[in-house]
Symmetry: C2
């Protein structure tokens, strides 16, 4: 099974029980966490996810709603006596932030924590089963998206299609066609839609995108399906995002917390 589970779908300030960004990608028992906003560990518990299996964590950028929950998760892994290595990837200052917080508490982790700085673009993980690569997006600070590519197609799917499945997480970004080259004809595309399109000027100013822009991007990318997320706290309900996107790209849906989407 190749899937993504939404742990948080809100932007900056948490609101209406919507948590800041975090997603769990699973492939045949391997687990990868994308971003880790505050409360991610509570969400993992709430949805009864056996998160000890997370081997790699990818942090798109250092706005707090994408990583403030990381130190708490690492700390809990330690208290729960995790043994296996944990690899964390993110912009270079992440290592300083995490290590400073471990140091002041005299924390000795029972596992190897390796924090890798990422820059520009490249491959992060490559096994027999999966390849994870990263690429830049257009945001106010250094920010990256991640592409998950299945390496071999399960036999039962091989008769139905001729290419391995892919999931692209485009992080926080303005509408930016330069991203297209990095993701190809993706099966499932996550594109942020912080605002509805009547606020496209605000979106542009704040380096975010609208639901309509996310849908246009999905269409241009030749994606099979689109997931919308990173909703602004100004919206009490989010149905409008899905409605707006579907006018441009029919296979659009809101990324809902606690829901697992097959890729």
């Amino acid at each position: 099974m190749f899937s993504v589970t939404i742990l948080g779908n809100n932007s900056a300030v948490p609101a209406y029980e919507r948590f800041p960004t975090s997603q769990l990608v699973s492939l045949n028992g391997n687990q990868f966490l994308i971003d880790c906003g505050e409360g991610t560990q509570m969400q993992l518990m709430r949805y009864k996810i056996r998160y000890s299996r997370i081997s790699h964590i990818f942090i798109s950028h250092l706005h707090g709603d994408h990583y403030f929950g990381l130190i708490g998760l690492i700390n809990s892994f330690g208290l729960l006596d995790r043994q296996q290595d944990l690899h964390v990837y993110g912009p270079s200052a992440l290592k300083d932030i995490i290590e400073l917080q471990l140091k002041v508490a005299s924390t000795r982790l029972p596992f190897q924590l390796q924090i890798h700085a990422i820059e520009s673009q490249g491959i992060l993980v490559e096994t027999e089963e999966i390849k994870v690569s990263f690429f830049p997006t257009d945001h106010r600070i250094e920010c990256y998206g991640f592409l998950f590519q299945e390496k071999t197609l399960p036999r039962k799917l091989a008769s139905q299609r001729n290419k391995p499945r892919t999931y692209a997480y485009c992080a926080d970004t303005r509408y930016d066609e330069r991203i297209l080259q990095h993701i190809g004809e993706v099966d499932l595309l996550y594109h942020e839609s912080t605002y509805l399109h009547d606020q496209h000027e605000k979106a542009e100013l704040r380096y975010h995108a609208t639901a309509k822009q996310a849908a246009e991007f999905a269409k241009k990318a030749g994606a099979n399906r689109l997931l919308l997320g990173h909703f602004s706290s100004q919206y009490e309900t989010i149905q409008g995002f899905e409605d707006e996107a579907r006018k441009t790209f029919a296979a659009s849906e809101n990324a809902l917390q606690g829901v697992t989407y097959l890729i």
Copy 2:
């Protein structure tokens, strides 16, 4: 009204919907936050507390379950366009941790954030209405408790009693009678009880206390009432803490999330 509202009552790893430590002390519209574990801002929202009024935040020590939620709360204050000054008090490294995280995101706060290092003991706040002081506790790393003293007794209470009301928060600590001198005959005492007494050796080893010890401490202090908290994640239910403490000190109760206790 002089009260404390419990936002989180669990220790280290959050569990069973119990969040890590945070408490809100209110006196006539003034609000003070004690500790700020991960998810504190979500708890403030869940309980519909108008938290913009928080003027001072006191961090007892730099174990993550007492401060990992602070950067998120500060960040949200900024996004919500807070204007009034915010004073944060805690061990000296706290300033570095917060400032580093603000810096990497190029965050410009619209309010004055003043982070004060505390050391040893002394007075933190003194107005016409309240005095807040701090004192050392016996924990694995530098750790402080806080004493809240009402300065003048409301007229309607003056006929019933002859001294202003007090609340002592004894943070994380072993059983330690040296703390008694700092708190006096306190009205409401919060004392941690991470474990039940059958695990008193583990408690001692980890610089924590048991429910029985918390009750003994309350008795020695001549406290009116005792609140128990900082429950270990090994306990799925917490009724046992209250039961154990009441055998030694009848006016004991568990600190429950979302509940406001009058002082």
